[in-house]
Symmetry: C2
Subunit: 200 residues, 2 copies
Amino acid sequence: MTKSIMPDHPILELLRKRWSPRAFADRPVEPTKLQSLLEAARWAPSSSNEQPWNFLVATKDNRAEFDRMLACLFEKNQSWAKNVPVLMITVAAKNFAHSGKPNRHAFHDIGLAVSDMITQATALDLFVHQMAGFSPDKARETYSIPDTHEAVTAIAVGYLGDPNTLPDDLRERELERSTRKPLNQFVFTRKWGESAEWAG
Amino acid sequence: MTKSIMPDHPILELLRKRWSPRAFADRPVEPTKLQSLLEAARWAPSSSNEQPWNFLVATKDNRAEFDRMLACLFEKNQSWAKNVPVLMITVAAKNFAHSGKPNRHAFHDIGLAVSDMITQATALDLFVHQMAGFSPDKARETYSIPDTHEAVTAIAVGYLGDPNTLPDDLRERELERSTRKPLNQFVFTRKWGESAEWAG
């Protein structure tokens, strides 16, 4: 199953193929592929090259560890994420290592790193589903995350599965077409709200 | 000129080619390429598909408008960014449109969108340099950004230029090898600080 997004302007096949499934195949992710995913994240840019990203990773071959991470997710997400082969929790360093001052872009730079991880995943036929729906507090407690850091997202990684394995409401969402605002609603020139003439 | 990064594990050529130059060529970016860049950002994932990203864009063919955006950058960045053909300022919607509640991932999701824009740029032989070094307050004033939103980053886009056009200190940085922490310093299992055995 593929989602066919309909871009208004040409974009890379790698970006067109990406979407966030909930149905994942019962198939492990090869450790060499996991290495490439994290390596892609590693080389992302960041403010002052701070690299504020950290990744807690649980693979299903260690079921007890997998279940500890799964328990950090909100129940709604647990219902499908229990079937994925790999879970991650991203954790941001809140302050700059060199100065101790707050890093305004810590969360932003986690986004930069995870995005490159996703692009790499797509190239390896893997899919990624990021979740805001988890408990950063429970993650802190479970993994002894220090006060200097904060959990940002939970992430599921794996091969694409069969939407028919999902409960009804989630299966419907799985089959829906992806939608986005048009460019002229978020690309502006001269002042806020004024569309760029080339951004149709 | 290319920077040759040395990944420890295989990653996409598109990700290996990316770096953040300060020397840009005196050559405009084609409007069709700008469209593809923003279109790539458009299809990024976001928390609840909120798409909190907005882009203010100034191209050098309108010099007065370009200079207004340039003036939002810190002086150090103006020194090289005055030569780029395209500047952008990203702006996050701080709250969810449907509920008005704070979007914890607004900055994070800007990172996701910009990262896809950069990947698209690399595929089109363009380079991107993101900056934390600008004034969000001056951007708010210059563009009448509403209180519900906040400027996140400034961004330079263009074709690669000649490092010899840079002042001495910046030229040195331009020619330095890119470095990153090894995977075992930020990929953990079981608990905080415990390296994954496969993350060498």
